[in-house]
Protein backbone atom coordinates (compact mmCIF):
# COMPACT_ATOMS: atom_id res chain seq x y z
CA UNK A 1 0.00 0.00 0.00
CA UNK A 2 2.03 2.93 -1.19
CA UNK A 3 1.19 6.55 -1.11
CA UNK A 4 2.33 7.71 -4.47
CA UNK A 5 1.72 10.99 -6.19
CA UNK A 6 -1.77 10.47 -7.44
CA UNK A 7 -3.10 11.18 -10.86
CA UNK A 8 -6.77 11.60 -10.29
CA UNK A 9 -8.54 8.97 -12.38
CA UNK A 10 -10.82 10.16 -15.12
CA UNK A 11 -14.09 9.66 -13.33
CA UNK A 12 -13.53 8.47 -9.82
CA UNK A 13 -16.24 8.07 -7.26
CA UNK A 14 -15.10 9.48 -4.03
CA UNK A 15 -11.61 9.80 -5.48
CA UNK A 16 -8.66 11.10 -3.58
CA UNK A 17 -7.63 14.57 -2.56
CA UNK A 18 -4.94 16.21 -4.61
CA UNK A 19 -1.95 17.16 -2.52
CA UNK A 20 -0.38 19.95 -4.45
CA UNK A 21 1.62 21.96 -1.94
CA UNK A 22 4.97 20.57 -0.98
CA UNK A 23 5.58 21.90 2.45
CA UNK A 24 8.99 22.76 3.75
CA UNK A 25 10.66 19.85 5.51
CA UNK A 26 11.03 21.84 8.72
CA UNK A 27 7.31 22.25 8.91
CA UNK A 28 6.93 18.49 8.72
CA UNK A 29 9.41 18.13 11.55
CA UNK A 30 7.55 20.64 13.68
CA UNK A 31 4.27 18.91 12.98
CA UNK A 32 5.60 15.55 14.02
CA UNK A 33 7.22 17.02 17.08
CA UNK A 34 3.99 18.61 18.13
CA UNK A 35 2.26 15.27 18.02
CA UNK A 36 4.73 13.76 20.44
CA UNK A 37 3.28 14.80 23.74
CA UNK A 38 6.26 13.82 25.80
CA UNK A 39 8.60 15.85 23.63
CA UNK A 40 6.34 18.84 23.92
CA UNK A 41 6.36 18.45 27.70
CA UNK A 42 10.13 18.26 27.67
CA UNK A 43 10.39 21.33 25.53
CA UNK A 44 8.06 23.21 27.82
CA UNK A 45 10.16 22.39 30.84
CA UNK A 46 13.29 23.49 29.02
CA UNK A 47 11.71 26.78 28.06
CA UNK A 48 10.52 27.20 31.63
CA UNK A 49 14.03 26.58 32.78
CA UNK A 50 15.43 29.18 30.44
CA UNK A 51 12.88 31.55 31.77
CA UNK A 52 13.82 30.81 35.36
CA UNK A 53 17.48 31.18 34.60
CA UNK A 54 17.09 34.48 32.82
CA UNK A 55 14.74 35.96 35.37
CA UNK A 56 16.40 34.43 38.42
CA UNK A 57 16.87 37.71 40.22
CA UNK A 58 13.16 38.37 39.93
CA UNK A 59 12.08 34.92 40.99
CA UNK A 60 14.44 34.13 43.82
CA UNK A 61 13.17 35.49 47.10
CA UNK A 62 16.60 35.95 48.64
CA UNK A 63 20.13 36.67 47.63
CA UNK A 64 21.69 33.25 47.08
CA UNK A 65 24.95 34.25 48.66
CA UNK A 66 23.47 36.01 51.65
CA UNK A 67 24.65 34.21 54.72
CA UNK A 68 22.87 34.31 58.03
CA UNK A 69 24.30 31.99 60.61
CA UNK A 70 21.32 32.45 62.87
CA UNK A 71 19.02 30.52 60.58
CA UNK A 72 21.38 27.86 59.39
CA UNK A 73 20.26 24.34 58.61
CA UNK A 74 16.58 24.97 58.82
CA UNK A 75 14.23 22.46 57.21
CA UNK A 76 11.86 23.58 54.46
CA UNK A 77 9.29 26.07 55.63
CA UNK A 78 7.07 28.78 54.35
CA UNK A 79 9.82 31.39 54.34
CA UNK A 80 12.45 29.03 53.01
CA UNK A 81 10.81 26.64 50.63
CA UNK A 82 13.79 24.39 50.44
CA UNK A 83 15.32 25.13 53.78
CA UNK A 84 18.64 26.80 54.51
CA UNK A 85 22.15 25.48 54.22
CA UNK A 86 24.83 25.47 56.87
CA UNK A 87 25.64 29.11 56.20
CA UNK A 88 22.05 30.13 56.50
CA UNK A 89 21.62 30.77 52.80
CA UNK A 90 18.20 30.16 51.30
CA UNK A 91 18.28 26.92 49.36
CA UNK A 92 15.43 27.80 47.07
CA UNK A 93 17.20 30.89 45.81
CA UNK A 94 20.41 28.97 45.41
CA UNK A 95 18.69 26.28 43.41
CA UNK A 96 17.17 28.92 41.18
CA UNK A 97 20.45 30.66 40.57
CA UNK A 98 22.05 27.31 40.04
CA UNK A 99 20.01 26.96 36.90
CA UNK A 100 21.94 29.83 35.36
CA UNK A 101 25.28 28.20 35.79
CA UNK A 102 24.09 24.80 34.66
CA UNK A 103 22.58 26.13 31.49
CA UNK A 104 25.50 28.41 30.84
CA UNK A 105 28.00 25.64 31.23
CA UNK A 106 25.85 23.22 29.29
CA UNK A 107 25.43 25.41 26.27
CA UNK A 108 28.96 26.72 26.08
CA UNK A 109 30.50 23.31 26.60
CA UNK A 110 28.34 21.89 23.85
CA UNK A 111 29.16 24.89 21.73
CA UNK A 112 32.85 24.24 22.11
CA UNK A 113 32.45 20.55 21.46
CA UNK A 114 30.15 20.98 18.51
CA UNK A 115 32.14 23.71 16.81
CA UNK A 116 35.55 22.12 17.09
CA UNK A 117 34.28 18.61 16.78
CA UNK A 118 32.16 19.60 13.83
CA UNK A 119 35.05 21.28 12.07
CA UNK A 120 37.26 18.27 12.57
CA UNK A 121 34.57 15.93 11.39
CA UNK A 122 33.73 18.01 8.36
CA UNK A 123 37.35 18.43 7.36
CA UNK A 124 38.07 14.77 7.84
CA UNK A 125 35.00 13.63 5.99
CA UNK A 126 35.48 16.08 3.17
CA UNK A 127 39.13 15.55 2.42
CA UNK A 128 39.23 11.92 3.32
CA UNK A 129 42.42 9.97 3.00
CA UNK A 130 45.19 10.29 5.50
CA UNK A 131 43.91 13.46 7.05
CA UNK A 132 40.64 11.77 7.77
CA UNK A 133 42.41 8.75 9.15
CA UNK A 134 44.55 10.88 11.41
CA UNK A 135 41.62 12.84 12.73
CA UNK A 136 39.67 9.70 13.41
CA UNK A 137 42.59 8.15 15.25
CA UNK A 138 42.75 11.25 17.41
CA UNK A 139 39.09 10.86 18.17
CA UNK A 140 39.71 7.24 19.08
CA UNK A 141 42.39 8.36 21.51
CA UNK A 142 40.00 10.79 23.13
CA UNK A 143 37.37 8.11 23.32
CA UNK A 144 39.74 5.63 24.89
CA UNK A 145 39.84 7.75 27.99
CA UNK A 146 36.62 7.67 30.00
CA UNK A 147 34.90 11.02 29.58
CA UNK A 148 34.78 12.00 33.20
CA UNK A 149 38.39 11.15 33.74
CA UNK A 150 39.43 13.18 30.76
CA UNK A 151 37.44 16.14 32.01
CA UNK A 152 38.87 15.75 35.47
CA UNK A 153 42.38 15.61 34.08
CA UNK A 154 41.90 18.73 32.03
CA UNK A 155 40.40 20.65 34.90
CA UNK A 156 43.15 19.34 37.12
CA UNK A 157 45.70 20.68 34.70
CA UNK A 158 44.16 24.02 33.92
CA UNK A 159 42.81 24.80 37.31
CA UNK A 160 39.29 24.98 38.61
CA UNK A 161 37.35 27.78 37.05
CA UNK A 162 34.15 28.19 35.16
CA UNK A 163 35.91 28.56 31.85
CA UNK A 164 38.11 25.56 32.39
CA UNK A 165 35.11 23.52 33.37
CA UNK A 166 33.44 24.37 30.11
CA UNK A 167 36.55 23.65 28.12
CA UNK A 168 37.04 20.33 29.86
CA UNK A 169 33.49 19.17 29.33
CA UNK A 170 33.52 20.49 25.79
CA UNK A 171 36.66 18.62 24.85
CA UNK A 172 35.40 15.41 26.37
CA UNK A 173 32.32 15.65 24.18
CA UNK A 174 34.23 16.56 21.05
CA UNK A 175 34.55 13.10 19.49
CA UNK A 176 30.85 12.47 19.24
CA UNK A 177 30.23 15.63 17.23
CA UNK A 178 33.20 14.86 15.05
CA UNK A 179 31.72 11.47 14.27
CA UNK A 180 28.26 12.74 13.58
CA UNK A 181 29.41 15.51 11.30
CA UNK A 182 31.86 13.25 9.54
CA UNK A 183 29.14 10.71 8.81
CA UNK A 184 26.88 13.38 7.36
CA UNK A 185 29.73 14.85 5.40
CA UNK A 186 30.56 11.53 3.84
CA UNK A 187 26.96 11.10 2.78
CA UNK A 188 26.71 14.53 1.29
CA UNK A 189 30.12 14.66 -0.26
CA UNK A 190 29.31 12.20 -2.97
CA UNK A 191 26.24 14.04 -4.07
CA UNK A 192 26.06 15.99 -7.22
CA UNK A 193 25.59 19.49 -6.01
CA UNK A 194 28.97 19.29 -4.38
CA UNK A 195 30.46 18.35 -7.74
CA UNK A 196 28.61 21.22 -9.26
CA UNK A 197 29.93 23.64 -6.68
CA UNK A 198 33.44 22.43 -7.28
CA UNK A 199 33.00 22.85 -10.98
CA UNK A 200 32.03 26.45 -10.51
CA UNK A 201 35.24 26.88 -8.64
CA UNK A 202 33.88 27.44 -5.14
CA UNK A 203 36.56 27.22 -2.51
CA UNK A 204 36.58 24.20 -0.27
CA UNK A 205 35.73 26.23 2.77
CA UNK A 206 32.73 27.63 1.04
CA UNK A 207 31.55 24.24 -0.06
CA UNK A 208 31.84 22.90 3.42
CA UNK A 209 30.12 25.83 5.02
CA UNK A 210 27.35 26.31 2.54
CA UNK A 211 26.62 22.90 1.17
CA UNK A 212 27.70 20.30 3.60
CA UNK A 213 27.07 21.80 6.98
CA UNK A 214 23.41 22.64 6.39
CA UNK A 215 22.81 19.01 5.65
CA UNK A 216 24.32 17.94 8.91
CA UNK A 217 22.07 20.20 10.91
CA UNK A 218 19.53 17.57 11.86
CA UNK A 219 21.86 15.14 13.59
CA UNK A 220 23.87 18.00 15.04
CA UNK A 221 20.77 19.48 16.61
CA UNK A 222 19.75 16.18 18.10
CA UNK A 223 23.22 15.44 19.35
CA UNK A 224 23.52 18.93 20.82
CA UNK A 225 20.29 18.74 22.74
CA UNK A 226 21.30 15.46 24.26
CA UNK A 227 24.79 16.87 24.64
CA UNK A 228 23.61 19.77 26.77
CA UNK A 229 21.96 17.25 29.08
CA UNK A 230 25.17 15.30 29.31
CA UNK A 231 27.23 18.43 29.80
CA UNK A 232 25.05 19.55 32.68
CA UNK A 233 25.51 16.16 34.29
CA UNK A 234 29.24 16.23 33.70
CA UNK A 235 29.60 19.71 35.12
CA UNK A 236 27.60 18.76 38.17
CA UNK A 237 29.73 15.68 38.61
CA UNK A 238 32.94 17.63 38.42
CA UNK A 239 31.64 20.22 40.83
CA UNK A 240 30.58 17.47 43.15
CA UNK A 241 34.12 16.20 43.16
CA UNK A 242 35.31 19.65 43.99
CA UNK A 243 36.88 20.10 40.60
CA UNK A 244 34.38 22.39 39.04
CA UNK A 245 32.58 25.38 40.31
CA UNK A 246 33.88 26.32 43.68
CA UNK A 247 31.76 27.39 46.58
CA UNK A 248 30.26 29.80 47.40
CA UNK A 249 28.86 30.01 43.87
CA UNK A 250 25.50 28.37 43.78
CA UNK A 251 25.86 25.39 41.52
CA UNK A 252 23.82 22.25 41.89
CA UNK A 253 26.72 19.84 41.89
CA UNK A 254 28.77 21.71 44.43
CA UNK A 255 25.68 22.19 46.55
CA UNK A 256 25.32 18.44 46.62
CA UNK A 257 28.91 18.12 47.61
CA UNK A 258 28.64 20.56 50.52
CA UNK A 259 25.35 19.12 51.60
CA UNK A 260 26.77 15.67 51.73
CA UNK A 261 28.21 15.99 55.21
CA UNK A 262 24.80 16.89 56.52
CA UNK A 263 23.08 13.96 54.90
CA UNK A 264 21.93 12.61 58.19
CA UNK A 265 20.56 15.78 59.70
CA UNK A 266 19.57 17.87 56.78
CA UNK A 267 18.80 15.60 53.85
CA UNK A 268 16.92 18.38 52.10
CA UNK A 269 20.26 19.98 51.32
CA UNK A 270 21.06 17.14 48.98
CA UNK A 271 17.55 16.32 47.91
CA UNK A 272 16.50 19.47 46.13
CA UNK A 273 19.54 20.25 44.02
CA UNK A 274 19.55 16.64 42.85
CA UNK A 275 15.91 16.84 41.88
CA UNK A 276 16.64 20.03 39.99
CA UNK A 277 19.43 18.43 37.99
CA UNK A 278 17.28 15.39 37.29
CA UNK A 279 14.35 17.40 36.05
CA UNK A 280 16.44 19.52 33.74
CA UNK A 281 18.39 16.64 32.29
CA UNK A 282 15.26 14.54 31.95
CA UNK A 283 13.44 17.28 30.11
CA UNK A 284 16.35 17.81 27.74
CA UNK A 285 16.63 14.11 27.08
CA UNK A 286 12.93 13.72 26.39
CA UNK A 287 12.98 16.70 24.12
CA UNK A 288 16.09 15.47 22.37
CA UNK A 289 14.52 12.08 21.82
CA UNK A 290 11.39 13.63 20.43
CA UNK A 291 13.50 15.76 18.16
CA UNK A 292 15.35 12.75 16.92
CA UNK A 293 12.16 10.86 16.24
CA UNK A 294 10.58 13.69 14.35
CA UNK A 295 13.70 14.26 12.28
CA UNK A 296 14.04 10.63 11.32
CA UNK A 297 11.97 9.91 8.24
CA UNK A 298 12.17 6.18 8.72
CA UNK A 299 10.45 6.13 12.03
CA UNK A 300 6.88 6.29 10.84
CA UNK A 301 4.93 3.24 11.87
Amino acid sequence: MTMNEKTVPASSGSGGALREKRRSPWWEVWRRLRRNKAAVAGMTVVILLLFVAVFAPLIAPYDPNQTNIKIRLQPPSAEHLMGTDNFGRDMFSRVIYGSRISLYVGFIAVGIGAVFGGILGAVGGYYGGRLDNFIMRCMDVLLAIPQIILAIAIVGALGTSLLNLMIAVGISQLPRYARVVRASTLTVRGQEFVEAAKAIGASDTRIILENILPNCMAPIIVQSTLGVAQAILAAATLSFLGLGIQPPTAEWGSMLSSGRQFLRNAPYLTFFPGVAISIVVLALNIFGDGLRDSLDPKLRQ
Binding site: A10, S11, S14
Partner: protein, 325 residues
Protein backbone atom coordinates in the same frame (compact mmCIF):
# COMPACT_ATOMS: atom_id res chain seq x y z
CA UNK B 1 -16.94 -31.53 -2.95
CA UNK B 2 -14.99 -34.29 -1.34
CA UNK B 3 -11.82 -33.09 -2.95
CA UNK B 4 -12.08 -29.55 -1.67
CA UNK B 5 -9.15 -28.76 0.54
CA UNK B 6 -9.65 -25.08 1.17
CA UNK B 7 -12.71 -22.93 0.88
CA UNK B 8 -12.87 -19.21 1.47
CA UNK B 9 -16.17 -17.45 1.77
CA UNK B 10 -16.79 -13.74 1.91
CA UNK B 11 -13.44 -12.76 3.40
CA UNK B 12 -13.26 -9.12 4.41
CA UNK B 13 -10.12 -7.63 5.90
CA UNK B 14 -9.39 -4.03 6.78
CA UNK B 15 -6.37 -2.22 8.13
CA UNK B 16 -6.92 0.62 10.55
CA UNK B 17 -4.06 2.98 9.93
CA UNK B 18 -3.23 6.44 11.11
CA UNK B 19 -4.33 7.86 7.78
CA UNK B 20 -7.62 6.00 7.66
CA UNK B 21 -9.18 2.61 7.13
CA UNK B 22 -7.74 0.55 4.31
CA UNK B 23 -10.14 -1.94 2.75
CA UNK B 24 -7.63 -4.58 1.76
CA UNK B 25 -9.85 -7.56 1.02
CA UNK B 26 -13.50 -7.03 0.08
CA UNK B 27 -15.50 -10.18 -0.19
CA UNK B 28 -13.21 -12.86 -1.56
CA UNK B 29 -14.58 -16.32 -2.32
CA UNK B 30 -12.82 -19.26 -3.81
CA UNK B 31 -12.22 -22.95 -3.35
CA UNK B 32 -9.18 -25.08 -3.95
CA UNK B 33 -9.09 -28.83 -4.50
CA UNK B 34 -6.45 -31.21 -3.28
CA UNK B 35 -3.31 -31.24 -5.32
CA UNK B 36 -4.40 -28.37 -7.54
CA UNK B 37 -2.65 -25.08 -8.07
CA UNK B 38 -4.51 -21.80 -8.03
CA UNK B 39 -2.91 -18.70 -9.41
CA UNK B 40 -3.84 -15.52 -7.59
CA UNK B 41 -3.06 -12.70 -9.99
CA UNK B 42 -3.11 -8.97 -9.60
CA UNK B 43 -1.09 -5.81 -9.25
CA UNK B 44 0.55 -4.71 -6.03
CA UNK B 45 -2.00 -3.69 -3.47
CA UNK B 46 -4.78 -5.87 -4.87
CA UNK B 47 -5.08 -7.76 -1.61
CA UNK B 48 -3.39 -11.01 -2.59
CA UNK B 49 -0.90 -11.08 0.26
CA UNK B 50 -3.52 -10.12 2.80
CA UNK B 51 -5.70 -12.98 1.62
CA UNK B 52 -2.77 -15.33 2.04
CA UNK B 53 -1.95 -14.00 5.50
CA UNK B 54 -5.57 -14.41 6.50
CA UNK B 55 -5.43 -18.08 5.64
CA UNK B 56 -2.29 -18.44 7.73
CA UNK B 57 -3.67 -16.38 10.57
CA UNK B 58 -0.73 -14.01 10.24
CA UNK B 59 -2.50 -10.76 9.51
CA UNK B 60 -0.67 -8.24 11.70
CA UNK B 61 -3.22 -7.61 14.34
CA UNK B 62 -3.01 -4.11 15.61
CA UNK B 63 -3.71 -2.55 12.25
CA UNK B 64 -5.39 -5.54 10.62
CA UNK B 65 -8.90 -6.72 11.40
CA UNK B 66 -10.67 -9.64 9.77
CA UNK B 67 -14.17 -8.31 9.70
CA UNK B 68 -15.97 -11.38 8.52
CA UNK B 69 -15.59 -14.48 6.44
CA UNK B 70 -14.90 -18.14 6.69
CA UNK B 71 -11.75 -20.00 5.79
CA UNK B 72 -12.46 -23.70 5.82
CA UNK B 73 -9.48 -26.00 5.66
CA UNK B 74 -10.00 -29.74 5.86
CA UNK B 75 -13.27 -29.18 7.66
CA UNK B 76 -12.12 -26.54 10.18
CA UNK B 77 -12.75 -22.82 10.08
CA UNK B 78 -9.30 -21.38 10.48
CA UNK B 79 -10.55 -17.95 11.41
CA UNK B 80 -12.16 -19.19 14.58
CA UNK B 81 -9.43 -21.60 15.51
CA UNK B 82 -7.59 -20.80 18.76
CA UNK B 83 -4.00 -19.71 18.30
CA UNK B 84 -2.41 -22.80 19.75
CA UNK B 85 -4.24 -25.00 17.26
CA UNK B 86 -3.39 -22.60 14.46
CA UNK B 87 0.29 -23.07 15.34
CA UNK B 88 -0.09 -26.78 14.73
CA UNK B 89 -1.29 -26.06 11.24
CA UNK B 90 1.29 -23.48 10.25
CA UNK B 91 4.40 -24.92 8.77
CA UNK B 92 2.84 -28.32 9.14
CA UNK B 93 -0.34 -28.61 7.12
CA UNK B 94 -0.19 -25.22 5.44
CA UNK B 95 3.15 -23.57 4.65
CA UNK B 96 3.94 -20.21 3.23
CA UNK B 97 6.77 -19.05 1.02
CA UNK B 98 7.46 -15.34 1.04
CA UNK B 99 8.73 -13.06 -1.61
CA UNK B 100 12.22 -11.89 -0.81
CA UNK B 101 14.68 -14.72 -0.17
CA UNK B 102 17.35 -12.27 0.90
CA UNK B 103 15.39 -11.30 3.99
CA UNK B 104 13.21 -14.34 4.67
CA UNK B 105 15.93 -16.32 6.34
CA UNK B 106 17.35 -15.52 9.75
CA UNK B 107 20.95 -14.45 9.14
CA UNK B 108 22.35 -15.77 12.40
CA UNK B 109 20.97 -19.30 12.21
CA UNK B 110 22.16 -22.09 9.98
CA UNK B 111 19.89 -23.07 7.09
CA UNK B 112 19.69 -26.58 8.40
CA UNK B 113 18.41 -25.40 11.74
CA UNK B 114 15.79 -23.27 10.08
CA UNK B 115 14.51 -26.33 8.27
CA UNK B 116 14.76 -28.74 11.15
CA UNK B 117 13.04 -26.56 13.71
CA UNK B 118 9.74 -27.05 11.90
CA UNK B 119 10.34 -30.78 11.97
CA UNK B 120 11.12 -30.74 15.65
CA UNK B 121 8.09 -28.63 16.42
CA UNK B 122 5.56 -30.58 14.40
CA UNK B 123 6.78 -34.09 14.01
CA UNK B 124 8.34 -34.55 17.38
CA UNK B 125 11.58 -35.74 15.90
CA UNK B 126 14.72 -35.69 17.94
CA UNK B 127 17.28 -33.11 16.98
CA UNK B 128 19.47 -35.69 15.31
CA UNK B 129 16.62 -37.11 13.24
CA UNK B 130 15.47 -33.65 12.30
CA UNK B 131 19.00 -32.82 11.18
CA UNK B 132 19.05 -35.83 8.95
CA UNK B 133 15.69 -35.06 7.46
CA UNK B 134 16.67 -31.43 6.94
CA UNK B 135 19.71 -32.53 4.98
CA UNK B 136 17.44 -34.73 2.91
CA UNK B 137 15.16 -31.81 2.17
CA UNK B 138 18.13 -29.78 1.02
CA UNK B 139 19.02 -32.54 -1.41
CA UNK B 140 15.48 -32.47 -2.69
CA UNK B 141 15.87 -28.84 -3.63
CA UNK B 142 19.19 -29.61 -5.24
CA UNK B 143 21.45 -28.25 -2.56
CA UNK B 144 24.13 -30.57 -1.18
CA UNK B 145 22.93 -31.85 2.17
CA UNK B 146 26.36 -31.29 3.63
CA UNK B 147 25.77 -27.53 3.45
CA UNK B 148 23.20 -27.79 6.13
CA UNK B 149 25.38 -26.08 8.70
CA UNK B 150 26.04 -23.06 6.55
CA UNK B 151 24.47 -19.67 6.97
CA UNK B 152 22.14 -17.83 4.61
CA UNK B 153 24.74 -15.27 3.57
CA UNK B 154 26.74 -18.10 2.07
CA UNK B 155 24.04 -18.83 -0.48
CA UNK B 156 22.89 -16.95 -3.55
CA UNK B 157 19.37 -15.57 -3.90
CA UNK B 158 18.11 -18.49 -5.92
CA UNK B 159 19.59 -20.99 -3.52
CA UNK B 160 18.11 -19.20 -0.55
CA UNK B 161 14.71 -19.41 -2.12
CA UNK B 162 15.25 -23.10 -2.58
CA UNK B 163 16.07 -23.36 1.11
CA UNK B 164 12.81 -21.60 1.83
CA UNK B 165 11.02 -24.11 -0.37
CA UNK B 166 12.68 -26.94 1.50
CA UNK B 167 11.55 -25.35 4.75
CA UNK B 168 8.00 -25.14 3.47
CA UNK B 169 7.89 -28.73 2.30
CA UNK B 170 9.67 -30.25 5.27
CA UNK B 171 6.56 -31.40 7.07
CA UNK B 172 4.75 -32.44 3.91
CA UNK B 173 1.97 -29.89 4.04
CA UNK B 174 -1.32 -30.27 2.21
CA UNK B 175 -1.20 -26.68 1.00
CA UNK B 176 1.57 -24.29 0.13
CA UNK B 177 0.96 -20.60 -0.32
CA UNK B 178 3.70 -19.04 -2.41
CA UNK B 179 3.69 -15.24 -2.37
CA UNK B 180 5.57 -14.08 -5.46
CA UNK B 181 8.32 -16.66 -4.88
CA UNK B 182 10.26 -15.79 -7.99
CA UNK B 183 9.72 -12.07 -8.34
CA UNK B 184 12.93 -11.14 -6.57
CA UNK B 185 15.06 -13.53 -8.57
CA UNK B 186 16.91 -13.24 -11.85
CA UNK B 187 14.91 -14.39 -14.84
CA UNK B 188 17.05 -17.43 -15.49
CA UNK B 189 16.89 -18.48 -11.86
CA UNK B 190 13.16 -17.89 -11.89
CA UNK B 191 12.66 -20.61 -14.42
CA UNK B 192 14.76 -23.05 -12.41
CA UNK B 193 12.94 -22.37 -9.19
CA UNK B 194 9.54 -22.61 -10.82
CA UNK B 195 10.44 -25.90 -12.38
CA UNK B 196 11.62 -27.16 -9.03
CA UNK B 197 8.39 -26.07 -7.39
CA UNK B 198 6.34 -27.76 -10.04
CA UNK B 199 8.08 -31.09 -9.76
CA UNK B 200 8.09 -31.07 -5.97
CA UNK B 201 4.46 -30.18 -5.91
CA UNK B 202 3.73 -33.19 -8.00
CA UNK B 203 5.96 -35.43 -5.98
CA UNK B 204 4.41 -34.40 -2.69
CA UNK B 205 0.92 -34.00 -4.16
CA UNK B 206 0.55 -30.62 -2.47
CA UNK B 207 -2.05 -28.05 -3.36
CA UNK B 208 -0.66 -24.61 -4.03
CA UNK B 209 -1.80 -21.03 -4.15
CA UNK B 210 0.64 -19.15 -6.35
CA UNK B 211 0.44 -15.42 -5.83
CA UNK B 212 1.97 -13.49 -8.65
CA UNK B 213 1.57 -10.52 -10.92
CA UNK B 214 3.24 -12.34 -13.77
CA UNK B 215 0.87 -14.11 -16.14
CA UNK B 216 3.76 -16.05 -17.58
CA UNK B 217 4.31 -17.74 -14.22
CA UNK B 218 0.62 -18.51 -14.03
CA UNK B 219 0.72 -20.17 -17.40
CA UNK B 220 3.61 -22.38 -16.29
CA UNK B 221 2.29 -23.83 -13.07
CA UNK B 222 -1.36 -23.15 -12.42
CA UNK B 223 -4.50 -25.19 -12.95
CA UNK B 224 -6.91 -22.43 -12.03
CA UNK B 225 -6.64 -18.68 -12.01
CA UNK B 226 -8.24 -15.97 -9.90
CA UNK B 227 -7.73 -12.33 -10.86
CA UNK B 228 -7.84 -9.85 -8.03
CA UNK B 229 -8.42 -6.14 -8.18
CA UNK B 230 -8.87 -3.75 -5.27
CA UNK B 231 -9.57 -6.53 -2.82
CA UNK B 232 -12.06 -8.46 -4.97
CA UNK B 233 -11.82 -11.38 -7.31
CA UNK B 234 -12.96 -9.93 -10.58
CA UNK B 235 -12.56 -13.07 -12.63
CA UNK B 236 -11.87 -16.69 -11.87
CA UNK B 237 -11.72 -19.91 -13.84
CA UNK B 238 -9.58 -22.71 -15.12
CA UNK B 239 -6.35 -21.91 -16.89
CA UNK B 240 -7.93 -22.61 -20.26
CA UNK B 241 -10.95 -20.51 -19.53
CA UNK B 242 -8.94 -17.49 -18.46
CA UNK B 243 -6.15 -17.70 -20.95
CA UNK B 244 -8.39 -18.68 -23.82
CA UNK B 245 -11.51 -16.73 -23.09
CA UNK B 246 -10.89 -13.89 -20.62
CA UNK B 247 -13.97 -11.80 -20.08
CA UNK B 248 -13.38 -9.11 -17.49
CA UNK B 249 -12.04 -5.88 -18.98
CA UNK B 250 -9.25 -5.85 -16.40
CA UNK B 251 -8.13 -9.36 -17.29
CA UNK B 252 -8.25 -8.46 -20.94
CA UNK B 253 -6.19 -5.40 -20.17
CA UNK B 254 -3.62 -7.55 -18.37
CA UNK B 255 -3.24 -9.83 -21.31
CA UNK B 256 -2.94 -6.94 -23.67
CA UNK B 257 -0.10 -5.57 -21.59
CA UNK B 258 2.07 -8.52 -22.46
CA UNK B 259 3.96 -7.64 -25.61
CA UNK B 260 3.47 -10.28 -28.23
CA UNK B 261 6.76 -11.42 -29.65
CA UNK B 262 5.13 -12.23 -32.94
CA UNK B 263 3.44 -8.94 -33.38
CA UNK B 264 4.96 -6.40 -35.70
CA UNK B 265 3.85 -3.29 -33.90
CA UNK B 266 6.00 -1.92 -31.14
CA UNK B 267 3.44 -0.14 -29.07
CA UNK B 268 2.72 -1.28 -25.56
CA UNK B 269 -0.84 -1.18 -24.32
CA UNK B 270 -0.86 -0.43 -20.64
CA UNK B 271 -4.04 -0.08 -18.70
CA UNK B 272 -4.79 3.59 -18.18
CA UNK B 273 -4.52 5.03 -14.71
CA UNK B 274 -3.48 3.42 -11.45
CA UNK B 275 -5.06 1.07 -8.96
CA UNK B 276 -7.15 3.18 -6.61
CA UNK B 277 -5.85 4.13 -3.21
CA UNK B 278 -7.13 1.44 -0.85
CA UNK B 279 -8.03 4.17 1.59
CA UNK B 280 -10.36 5.71 -0.84
CA UNK B 281 -12.00 3.18 -3.10
CA UNK B 282 -14.36 4.49 -5.73
CA UNK B 283 -18.05 3.80 -5.55
CA UNK B 284 -19.51 0.98 -7.57
CA UNK B 285 -17.23 -1.29 -9.51
CA UNK B 286 -13.67 -0.69 -8.32
CA UNK B 287 -12.35 -0.87 -11.86
CA UNK B 288 -14.74 1.56 -13.44
CA UNK B 289 -12.40 4.60 -13.54
CA UNK B 290 -10.01 2.70 -15.77
CA UNK B 291 -12.46 0.57 -17.68
CA UNK B 292 -12.76 1.25 -21.39
CA UNK B 293 -16.24 -0.20 -21.31
CA UNK B 294 -17.50 1.64 -18.27
CA UNK B 295 -21.26 2.14 -18.14
CA UNK B 296 -23.38 4.34 -15.94
CA UNK B 297 -24.40 1.47 -13.68
CA UNK B 298 -20.74 0.65 -13.13
CA UNK B 299 -20.20 3.93 -11.37
CA UNK B 300 -22.94 3.29 -8.88
CA UNK B 301 -23.40 -0.37 -8.16
CA UNK B 302 -20.89 -3.05 -7.30
CA UNK B 303 -21.49 -5.86 -9.79
CA UNK B 304 -22.59 -9.29 -8.68
CA UNK B 305 -20.62 -12.33 -9.58
CA UNK B 306 -22.05 -14.44 -12.33
CA UNK B 307 -20.81 -17.87 -13.14
CA UNK B 308 -20.92 -20.24 -16.04
CA UNK B 309 -19.36 -23.65 -15.92
CA UNK B 310 -16.82 -22.68 -13.31
CA UNK B 311 -15.87 -19.43 -15.03
CA UNK B 312 -16.83 -16.53 -12.76
CA UNK B 313 -16.84 -12.82 -13.60
CA UNK B 314 -17.62 -9.75 -11.56
CA UNK B 315 -18.77 -7.29 -14.19
CA UNK B 316 -21.93 -5.54 -15.23
CA UNK B 317 -21.30 -6.54 -18.80
CA UNK B 318 -22.22 -10.05 -17.80
CA UNK B 319 -24.93 -9.47 -15.26
CA UNK B 320 -27.99 -11.58 -14.75
CA UNK B 321 -26.67 -14.81 -16.16
CA UNK B 322 -26.69 -13.50 -19.68
CA UNK B 323 -23.79 -12.14 -21.64
CA UNK B 324 -24.25 -8.68 -22.93
CA UNK B 325 -21.24 -7.47 -24.81
Amino acid sequence: MKDTLLEIKDLNVIYKTYEGTVAAVNGVDFALDRGKTLGLVGESGAGKTTTALSIMGLVPSPPGIIQRGRVTFAGQDLLTLPEKDMKKIRGNRISMIFQDPMTSLNPVLSVGLQISEALVAHQNLSEAEAERKAAEMLEKVQIPGARYREYPHEFSGGMRQRVVIAMALACNPRLIIADEPTTALDVTIQAQVLELMRSLKEEFATAMIMITHDLGVVGEVCDDVAVMYAGRIVEMGSLDQIFGNAMHPYTLGLFRCIPDIEEESSTIHPIEGLMPEPLDLPKGCPFHPRCPQCMEVCRQVVPEACEDNGHRVLCHLFGGGERRA
